[in-house]
């Protein structure tokens, strides 16, 4: 148990560093993929709701602080919810159609991105349509593409999920 916590903590710190460096190098028109969101999805899928919420909150908080975000608290909120949602799928990988599982993952990424920008820019004068077109959809698609590529590149042992 402790070994796993340390394992995820180590991977989480590595992902956070990638988020701070690699994500900046591969940004397109200011839009970056959210590696931390993908990690929380994976932890939720594999370890369940409790781990999803806790790791989501801690890494979300670290992400906000490290990112020098003007509002600390938005990322831990979103990541906890995404981790919780992903936790519902723990142990169901052999029972449910993989396409449905993938679809739920897509929905969770969209929900996370939508809520993040929705909360962050709630008091802003940006029109909802503009926000959807310029921020939410590009960020969601970029994160989804990177997540899908990772599914092919990094071998995930479905039997252990």
């Amino acid at each position: 148990m402790i070994r796993r916590i340390l394992q995820y903590t180590g991977i989480g710190i590595l992902i956070l560093l990638l988020q701070l460096t690699l994500a900046n190098w591969i940004r397109i028109a200011g839009i970056k993929p959210d590696f931390v969101m993908l990690l929380i999805l994976y932890i939720g899928y594999r370890e369940g709701k409790t781990a999803g919420i806790l790791f989501g909150f801690v890494f979300g908080l670290l992400q906000d602080i490290a990112a020098a975000s003007a509002f600390v608290g938005v990322s831990p909120l979103i990541k906890s919810i995404v981790g919780f949602g992903a936790g519902f799928l723990q142990g169901k990988f052999r029972m449910v159609n993989p396409f449905i599982l993938y679809g739920i993952g897509v929905l969770l990424i969209f929900l996370g991105t939508f809520l993040y920008f929705g909360i962050y820019y709630a008091a802003s004068p940006i029109a909802f349509g503009t926000m959807l077109q310029r921020l939410i959809l590009p960020s969601f698609i970029y994160t989804l593409v990177v997540g899908s590529l990772l599914l092919f590149i990094v071998p995930i042992d479905v039997e252990r999920l």
């Binding site: 919420i53 909150f57 509002f71």
Partner: protein, 268 residues
Amino acid sequence: MSFLHDILYRFREYILLIFTVLISFVLIFSNDNPQVNAFRGKMLDAFSFVQEPLLELERLGNLQEENLLLHQRIVELSIQVQQQKEAVLENQRLRKLLRFQNESKLDVKPAKIVNRGSSSLVNSVTINLGSDDGIKENQAVVVSEGVVGKVISVGESSAIVQLLTDVNFRLSVKTRRTRANGIVVWQYENLCTMDNVPKTLDVQVGDTVITSGYSDIFPEGLRVGRVTQASNDVPGYHKRIRVETFVNFNELEEVFVIVQRPRIEQAS
């Protein structure tokens, strides 16, 4: 008691979620709290320690291109300096005539950006100067092209700068040509709106927008952007004005923090 324990155990994940959501909301609404800011400052120092070498590596790859650009910039600036020296002399002569005295000069400190932020949209950056270097909250941050933002949180060796491209940033400005006052609010990319400008005032496409000097943070006359659209075809009493910022916020690497405001006071 056992029943309560059963309930708590059964719904522990929901309770945990509610707990983390509540803490998150407390954090969101406590962003101006000095204790939260102090904690952020400490954490920021730790992250900067890790991030700075990584960013240096990134910069090494761009050195040749940067060197070429800097040489070009030196030539441009040396021409500008010559022109400005003439302007300063002229200004001094005019001030003398008007009995004005320039009591202090703009004091700026150069800083490197050590973190651009990991959120999808860059709205704040971390710089490698902190309270040890005399940096305080609400100090203006600029580059040669114009206004970048202001310091919102300070650690010992690093500080967070809220950029003009943050939706919550408001900047009091005026047009250089007609002195029409307004508030600049960021929209997307390098585009902002200049709000609260009455339709009766003269603002035209191409006008340069500068800081008004009404705020305690930004001195008067710092360049902000250029008007790209000015129209009266909107309901209400105010114009619709779009401003393109002079600063390219995606390319920021070094900035300058204004640690002392210029004071121009009328001589008795």
